[in-house]
Symmetry: D2
Subunit: 359 residues, 4 copies
């Protein structure tokens, strides 16, 4: 088990897709912090289903209730618990014994010896990312007061790619309903998603995340490198199967002379001639924009017939899964990645404050 995250803050998540609620407890908010709840709501809506043709029609208002840690319009500094009640569950769409290929159904069945809540993936549902977005949205506001901003855009959906984007545009693009830089690419991606939906199939894609304004020295040797912290968070998001920082896998084909970011003095300050490293050297932020990409696999639930097993009867079966699901989870995963990144940066920033305070 590890439903708790954080070195300096403590984020605890809980809930199941079709249970009473999902939610989180966040310990470490600055006392006196007055959240911009409207912004939180906008971020929650970016993640919520049912808002557009490319997401699942399951409707979830994703309204949250704050149970603690909030008083007279401000965070008290003690743990903030937020609960998001589930609505519009249609548990009947799910059967306990038919394993959906690509899902956690199989692994959860064995791990919990048949006791997991199987409805809609239970605790393994993407629905658990709702509290993550809530927490990350608060983190993002705290970072912004320090001049740090984190965003995410889609750069690939089912092979349709976004154009090159100067990284400075990340925040503007990040806030779009369909966060793609190039308008034409956005249209083509949406078309591809709807085509996959029509084919009772699904698409995956790639999300690029970036952060601007981060100070030098976030991240800690040896085991808490900034890449370690961020990657661990990203792989908590269901469907993420890969991550690369800076030039990433392309570095395998490059020489050192091509991969190194050379330096020079820009006025009185050291600066870099390139950013192949994605803003991280030796596991520590170097002050350049932080850039990484995550790959999101195609939604496993599809309407096409697949071969699978009835885990209770022990039989091979062929079946097409019903239920409301996203033909492509990538657009809804973008605000989740952004939230996760914000949480990581906030936590690492607290390490840095600690450090600054030493001596």
């Amino acid at each position: 088990m590890s439903n708790v995250w954080g070195k300096n803050i403590r984020l605890s998540v809980f809930g199941e897709s079709h249970g009473s609620a999902v939610g989180m407890v966040l310990d470490g908010l600055p006392p006196g912090f007055a959240p911009d709840w409207a912004e939180v709501a906008r971020n929650m809506k970016r993640r919520a289903p049912g808002n557009n043709p490319w997401s699942t029609p399951r409707e979830e208002s994703d309204e949250w209730e704050i149970l603690s840690g909030f008083f007279q319009g401000k965070a008290t500094g003690t743990p903030l618990c937020a609960v998001i009640k589930n609505q519009g569950q249609r548990g009947g769409d799910y059967t306990p014994n038919l394993i959906r290929p690509g899902h956690a159904d199989f692994t959860a069945y064995y791990k919990y010896r048949g006791n997991a809540d199987y409805r809609g993936g239970g605790h393994f549902s993407g629905r658990l990312t709702a509290p993550l977005v809530l927490a990350g949205s608060l983190a993002g506001q705290i970072l912004r007061e320090r001049g740090i901003m984190a965003g995410a855009r889609i750069i690939n959906v089912g092979g349709v790619k976004d154009a090159f984007m100067p990284i400075e545009n990340i925040m503007e693009v990040s806030r779009r309903e369909f966060p793609v830089y190039d308008e034409k690419a956005a249209v083509a991606m949406q078309k591809a998603i709807l085509q996959a939906k029509a084919d009772k199939d699904s698409l995956g894609g790639i999300i690029e995340c970036a952060a601007l304004g981060i100070p030098i020295g976030l991240g800690e040797p040896f085991f808490a490198s900034l890449e370690s912290v961020i990657s661990a968070m990203m792989f908590s998001i269901p469907a993420v199967k890969g991550i690369e920082f800076g030039d990433g896998f392309a570095l395998a084909d490059k020489r050192g002379s091509e991969a190194n970011d050379q330096l020079y003095m820009d006025e009185q300050r050291p600066a870099f001639l390139s950013n192949h490293s994605g803003g991280i050297n030796g596991g520590l932020s170097n002050g350049q924009p932080l850039v990484f990409r995550i790959v999101v696999k195609p939604t496993p639930t599809i309407g096409r017939e697949q071969t699978t097993v009835d885990i209770v009867k022990g039989e091979t079966v062929k079946t097409a899964f019903k239920g409301r699901h996203d033909p492509c989870i990538v657009p809804r995963a973008a605000p989740v990645a952004e939230a996760g990144l914000a949480l990581c940066l906030w936590d690492c920033l607290l390490d840095k404050f600690k450090e600054g305070a030493k001596l």
Copy 2:
């Protein structure tokens, strides 16, 4: 700071490249465990420099001394401390003020306000992976008694690729001095490395890691998914810039019907028709071979002239770095990745035992 790793075990690392020693403290070894030290020595040698033309000529015997936790030929069960004394340091090759592009020199200088041991990268040196290999080698032996085996092979060096390999061969290939499946590819890779060396340049590459025999259900929701645990460890290894599980980034271009691993009953047991997921669903191992790849960037230290800064004088300078360095760190990183993977699996396995013990 986080020099300590592990949920169920505790691994603490310390040391600098050109200080007195590097080492580790490992708490959680089973009492009565009698390590095969000859095997540890073989793994240490795989990582050690100076053994062949494609690694740095810096000679390090990498002999270790056990200071605690070991009595009468067996682990006592209390913390085992192992110290690896540094030898053959040539600190004079390093200057504190010239930043080596691509290294931690720049970030460490600021993070530690000029107090870091700059010689050879100090605490950020690849030399810190020696204690990791030592610890991982012990972990590997513990896993083997449970029927679990972890290995690593090189699949790309500077664009030269290994052939397809049935995953069952991983352990045999892993133990080779140059762990590549296809002999011709191995020769071509070595040639490419020596060419880069002759060019005073360096190469990166990709390592494929795999584990066989792992039980269903390793990994924990939400934040300790098996991918989270493994990726965090891999990004602790200097020079790693990306990781992907199963089909990884290729999943962006696939449809759900191509990406899902369908199931069937094989005799009395559920089995999979493919392994696009790399053996992990919902963050939990599914009993298939665990497969992932990491990208290792080209060694940043190169003999070519580069533009950089003198951090003390605040000047732009052009310089070619001397010192003994690897033209390609990939072969030496393979046993490190294998060791890191073994540590992850051991720690997650203890979660599973805990779980099995409950009720």
Copy 3:
């Protein structure tokens, strides 16, 4: 901040006395565990106020709602969130600026820079022990299946002492409404409490906790000795100011020959001639009954006039505090201590299972 507890399980608590709710998230319950909710309710009632003349008249039904981790009558194995809504708050009784001597009002005001929820102590209220009892009650049931039982009795209230009790009686006494061994002592204690109440004053006392049936070897060197784990938990309970194991402070006046527990072979098994150590040697359980005592200070809120400060105006004032409060918190603290002990033993037991599983 640390609202999260546990090495092998994760317990997160949240809430304020007069906010919406208090609650907890518990990760690590065995999948398939079917709690005896009636027993949980009995334990909750032992802690709840308003049930008898010696506790505060504030009425709290302390009914809880399970939001997650529970399905078809059983724990799923994923995080269980339980929320206890607050009722009958009379926030008007509290003023933000008058510091109640002996309370957290003063320290919380500074720590949270005036943003803490001051009503009824906010997050520092004894009300936070309600989720602890809930969690501990589940832990107690898990322990019982392993033959381990933990209980608590009152041995001193305001100087009135219980009689000597053979430790085997702990469970029977623990379940009493007023958990005192000697009936006459119980009557005298209650009388003392009511007298203090009549005097607008309050009493403290001492609780003895014990556990039977624990295996040898619970607890871990160096920093997770069984005494370290238990004492840290006990000092989380508001008003606890001391703890001693076995003969405790009396050992200062003894010689080694009086303090050592000598051993002999009882049939085929080693046994002890005494239990001065309270069942712990070297920080590890030795199989004897675990025995310790905690001191609970008198309830700080009293109706008598006291000198204090108006923290906002910066003035010395004399005031008598109103509000409903317990003349003696000791009886309600007993089930809390018992719950805390059960949580500690469960967590340490998981370490032991892990250990047993190794090799």
Copy 4:
């Protein structure tokens, strides 16, 4: 296992009494910190044996070697490893099968299934406190730069008590070779120790610890109260069996009106009329002197005949233990308690800096 301590720093300890060495790894030292090694040596000597008639004649120079994290006379900010080689071991004095009553011999034998290093208590030896004093001595220097000082004095040895001491004297008394306030009491205590030694017996005692100059708000709700943090550390010290803060167990016999520390405005600042709480309210420091006491049991190893078991043969035996041991460990435990307290305060102070940095 938990050989690692700290929320914000990481202290890892290792070693056995009669193995090669004991030592520690400390991660979190401020970069640029230049320790006063002479002061460290003085503290190490206070703890070391063989220096006076009331401690064991086993001679240990307790010289340490720094292996990492230290460069050019300063802490680098990366993990500092210090190794203290063992000397003058006389392993022959110890037998693996005779259980010493009151020691960890029995529990360690079972926990580690006969594999523990039994010589001199192995990992459970008081010798493990040497690295604690080293680490704590560094912590103490860091605290002092913030105006915080921690000390310890003996207030009871075998029933002989020190006189009342105004708490401001703690630092001066703490540095004495025999840290007792009243000279006559010191003489009486030493006499009692030598008498016990002559009787082949041993004495326990009580140590009072105090810290001056601490800011308001150290400690964290719920589970990391300052008392929780300190008590967990104190119970890591071998032979400690109890702890009480402020008036401690005496509070059981007091009324709220006697136990509360009333407040008033002293010039412009709130002040307290008393310190029954030992400087902690609600688990947080209130700015008053922090005061607590720990009880240290009599050294279990005594020269008198005792009944015990031969754990291998399974026989009851009567034996008198030889070997060099302290007739009273209290004087040597005082600097250990002081070191542990310094570590706790440093770690909690980092929480506070973090907090101050938030928003």
